[in-house]
């Protein structure tokens, strides 16, 4: 037994030394995101804001996204209850994803690259690497727990107790451990590192969507969802510590399964067979567009399928939405005062969310071109008569196409499910949903243009565009909760675009952003055409 894990402690020390910068960039932003919004939220609570917020959060659409709260009457809704409801699941989800990606990148990915083989040639135990990386993830999450809890307690805000803060932070930490364990299992099953991270993300994503559905339709079922356990701890209100115990037990069981799976497989292979390809390339594949379509194919298919599924899930909530408005006079008054239907504003918000997610795909497609470049695979293409013009614009076109298709699929699925859920009571037509989606097309164009621009001049910064997209989205998404000043709203592209169908279409802004996007694409091409290719081993 000890032989299998021999010298894991040495590996752990080496890994901590190797990764300390990454760990710092992991704990501080994530921890601050999770813990440091206390003052901002405490601003909202002033002047009866808590009561308004209680009713806002009671909306099924928001419940589907952030989870439930144990508070049943507005008077009992405290700052802590609100903070836990709005921040805990999101932060826990990010923590699980980051831990999972780290896990795969230091286990399966190193196996694929050959580092594991080298490590295994020393007196190191066969499974010492997995154990060391797992302990590293555990270590990071423990530090994260104390960081978050510490930050929250420091603000000394009302109802943010020490016990609650610790529970809140521990839920996030254990979510990270669980994400790491899920990834470790997938690292054994899948035939490649890419498959392992994809599989782990898919499981986490499905659990997240699953609990969204059960939270709205039948909250009692969420108790059976490990991702549900994160917010069911209800810090600052019920303080259900025992859910942490569930998370811990599940992680240990998963860990044992992962180690058994690892023990019984050869290095570099998984339990699922590696798929083989065709003997000859099809005619389509023998062209530049065909080649790049193929390189992006599996990412495009899985992303588009996920978007369509999400549209269906959000659309099916419409019937609950009507019940919710009908049952609460205050809410229906609120909506009537602002002279818009709850369906229309829900459609606007959800479209915003879906288009935000649909924009990730085009950014990834353009960024992939840089990944190809770094790995020196483009050199071979440029050795033929292929021009940079062809490569650049082909990828820009694929990215735009993927983005528009993503918007169409998610809006159509959202509309179909929504209309069938509302039955005759529907105030919206299928066209309203599609128009609401296509109104946001400039967002896709803008990010394709921006990614192209970055690719042309500072390609290494490409990965940070996801951060800007996230920022973009958070500004408009939280605009309803936190009143941002007008200029802050204008730093977000989505802040410029009206939210259909509640708002009216604005042709000037639509065309304006489109033109800016096209200019960025062209400028990006000029940069791309004249800069040196970058090579990294």
């Amino acid at each position: 037994m000890t032989e299998k894990f021999a010298y894991f402690n040495q590996l752990l020390l080496i890994y901590l030394k190797r990764d300390w910068k990454k760990i710092l960039f992991w704990i501080v932003p994530l921890g601050s995101f999770g813990g440091a919004f206390v003052p901002a939220f405490s601003e909202i609570t002033k002047d009866g804001g808590l009561i308004g917020m209680f009713y806002t959060m009671d909306n099924p659409a928001l419940t589907a996204m952030v989870g439930t709260s144990p508070v049943e009457v507005a008077e009992n809704y405290t700052l802590g209850a609100m903070y836990a409801q709005e921040m805990l699941l999101f932060t826990g989800l990010i923590s699980a994803v980051v831990s999972g990606l780290h896990m795969v990148s230091h286990t399966r990915k190193e196996e694929d690259s050959g580092i594991t083989e080298q490590i295994q040639s020393f007196r190191i135990g066969r499974q010492a690497n997995s154990l060391a990386v797992l302990l590293e993830v555990l270590f990071v999450n423990i530090i994260l727990v104390f960081y978050i809890a510490g930050v929250m307690v420091l603000f000394d805000a009302e109802s943010i107790s020490i016990e609650g803060s610790l529970l809140f932070a521990s839920s996030i930490g254990l979510a990270g451990v669980l994400g790491g364990v899920i990834a470790l299992i997938m690292a054994q099953i899948m035939p490649t590192a890419g498959g392992a991270s994809g599989g782990a993300m898919a499981i986490i994503g499905l659990l997240y969507m699953g609990r969204g559905l059960t939270d709205v339709a039948n909250p009692e079922l969420s108790v059976f969802n490990p991702l549900g356990w994160i917010y069911l701890t209800y810090p600052f209100t019920e303080n259900n510590w025992y859910y942490l115990f569930y998370l811990g037990i599940l992680s240990v069981i998963g860990l044992v399964i992962a180690f058994i799976l690892e023990e019984n497989r050869d290095i570099g292979s998984g339990y699922l067979p590696q798929s083989t390809g065709r003997i000859e390339a099809s005619r389509f594949l023998q062209s530049i567009p065909g080649l790049f379509f193929r390189l992006n194919r599996s990412m495009m298919i899985s992303w588009l399928a996920a978007l369509a599924f999400m549209g269906l899930a959000y659309g099916s909530v419409f019937s609950e939405l009507q019940v919710f408005v009908g049952s609460n006079e205050l809410i229906s008054q609120m909506f009537q005062q602002e002279n818009m239907s709850v369906e229309a504003s829900y459609t606007g918000i959800i479209t915003l969310v879906m288009v935000g997610l649909a924009t990730i795909l085009p950014i990834a497609i353009v960024n992939k071109l840089f990944t190809e470049e770094k790995s020196q695979r483009l050199n071979q293409l440029f050795a033929f008569k292929t021009s940079r013009f062809e490569i650049y614009w082909t990828n820009i076109a694929i990215a735009i196409l993927a983005g528009v298709l993503g918007i169409f699929l998610s809006s159509a699925a959202f509309g179909l499910a929504g209309i069938s859920a509302m039955k005759e009571a529907s105030t919206l037509t299928f066209g309203d949903f599609i128009v609401a989606g296509f109104n946001q097309v400039p967002l896709v164009l803008f990010f394709v243009g921006l990614t192209g621009l970055v690719l042309g001049f500072v390609p290494r910064l490409g990965k940070f565009l996801y951060l800007y997209l996230t920022y973009n989205f958070f500004i408009v998404y939280f605009d309803g909760l936190i009143e941002f000043p007008e200029w802050v709203m204008k730093t977000s592209v989505q802040g410029w675009l009206p939210q259909l169908p509640a708002d009216a279409f604005n042709a000037t802004i639509f065309i304006g952003i489109t033109v800016i996007s096209l200019v960025m694409m062209v400028a990006g091409y000029i940069g791309y055409n004249q800069r040196d290719l970058i090579e990294e081993g």
Binding site: F122, R123, D266, S269, E536, G537
Partner: protein, 292 residues
């Protein structure tokens, strides 16, 4: 006692039989060349010897111990260099060498510095900025700077320039003189020929030839060139004569060693002016095994 002792080794990947019948041994103070074409099973054999993939049948022992069960004991006295040394991109070459030496457990700092100088490696550079040859140097230095009794080299000089290749060869000879064992898998046959005492040739998962290079040369053919005033073409039909070519009075052919006496007797009857005989190169041996 043999350092490596492999008997009837089998390995299956699903239905595919990667190794069907592999047997050979490596003795102390000896360099064994391990050659074969791509996909013949060289790397699979080496990975089984490393204990990182599990054999399906047969036995594989290093220092008399099972390569899977007693892996850890074995690895304390073994070094390995793959053909594609994989490195962590954001660490420097010097850092990675230190990590590898530490993980091995018996590194020698002075030896490390000496090797870095000999191989002209810049240890401050990040691994991602190294060329193929420089990455290979990192692997070689870490393997050569530690105390081991067995060295497994899988295409160790791929990407090295000829100067560095000869430094590597010198270092390997030193190891051999210290009585250590080396298994050298390589496609650079001239390198194997220069270094190896014995050879194992693998083909489609089977060892088709193994033994000392001298023995193998004897068992095969020599290439003979002759010159004569008379017509030597009648030699072409003799038993044991292959690849016969004639250019006026010059003829060249290869001949099985057991037939050499008969062929020479025939030749002297016709009358010859000059005769040259060359032993088969490793390349001749190798190609002979793969033509069939």
């Amino acid at each position: 006692m043999s350092i490596i002792e492999v008997k009837n080794l089998h390995k299956k990947f699903g239905k595919f039989e990667a190794l069907s019948e592999v047997s050979f041994s490596v003795e102390p103070g000896e360099i064994t060349g391990f050659i074969g074409p791509n996909g013949a099973g060289k790397s699979t054999t080496i990975r089984i010897l490393l204990g990182i993939i599990k054999k399906s049948g047969g036995s594989a022992k290093i220092f008399g111990k099972d390569v899977w069960e007693d892996r850890q004991e074995i690895h304390k006295r073994m070094s390995y260099v793959p053909g594609d040394v994989a490195l962590w991109n954001n660490l420097s070459g010097g850092e990675i060498i230190d990590i590898f030496m530490k993980l091995h457990g018996s590194g020698n700092k002075a030896k490390r510095d000496e090797l870095i100088e000999r191989f002209e490696l810049d240890p401050k550079k990040k691994a991602k900025n190294y060329s193929k040859g420089n990455r290979q140097k990192v692997g070689l230095i870490s393997a050569l700077a530690v105390e081991s009794d067995l060295y497994l080299f899988d295409e160790p000089t791929s990407g090295l320039d000829p100067l560095m290749e000869s430094i590597f060869q010198e270092e390997v000879k030193k190891i051999k003189e210290e009585g250590k064992a080396v298994l050298l898998s390589s496609h650079i046959l001239s390198e194997v020929e220069r270094l190896a005492d014995s050879i194992a040739i693998i083909r489609q998962g089977e060892i088709v030839e193994s033994g000392s290079l001298e023995e193998m040369r004897y068992l095969t053919r020599s290439v003979i060139t002759m010159e004569s005033d008379n017509d030597l073409s009648s030699l072409a039909s003799l038993e044991g004569v292959h690849h016969f070519t004639q250019d006026n009075q010059h003829i060249q052919f290869s001949v099985d060693h057991k037939a050499i006496n008969k062929v020479l007797m025939e030749a002297t009857k016709i009358g010859i002016l000059t005769i040259e005989s060359a032993p088969p190169t490793l390349e001749d041996l190798f190609i002979r095994h793969y033509e069939r």
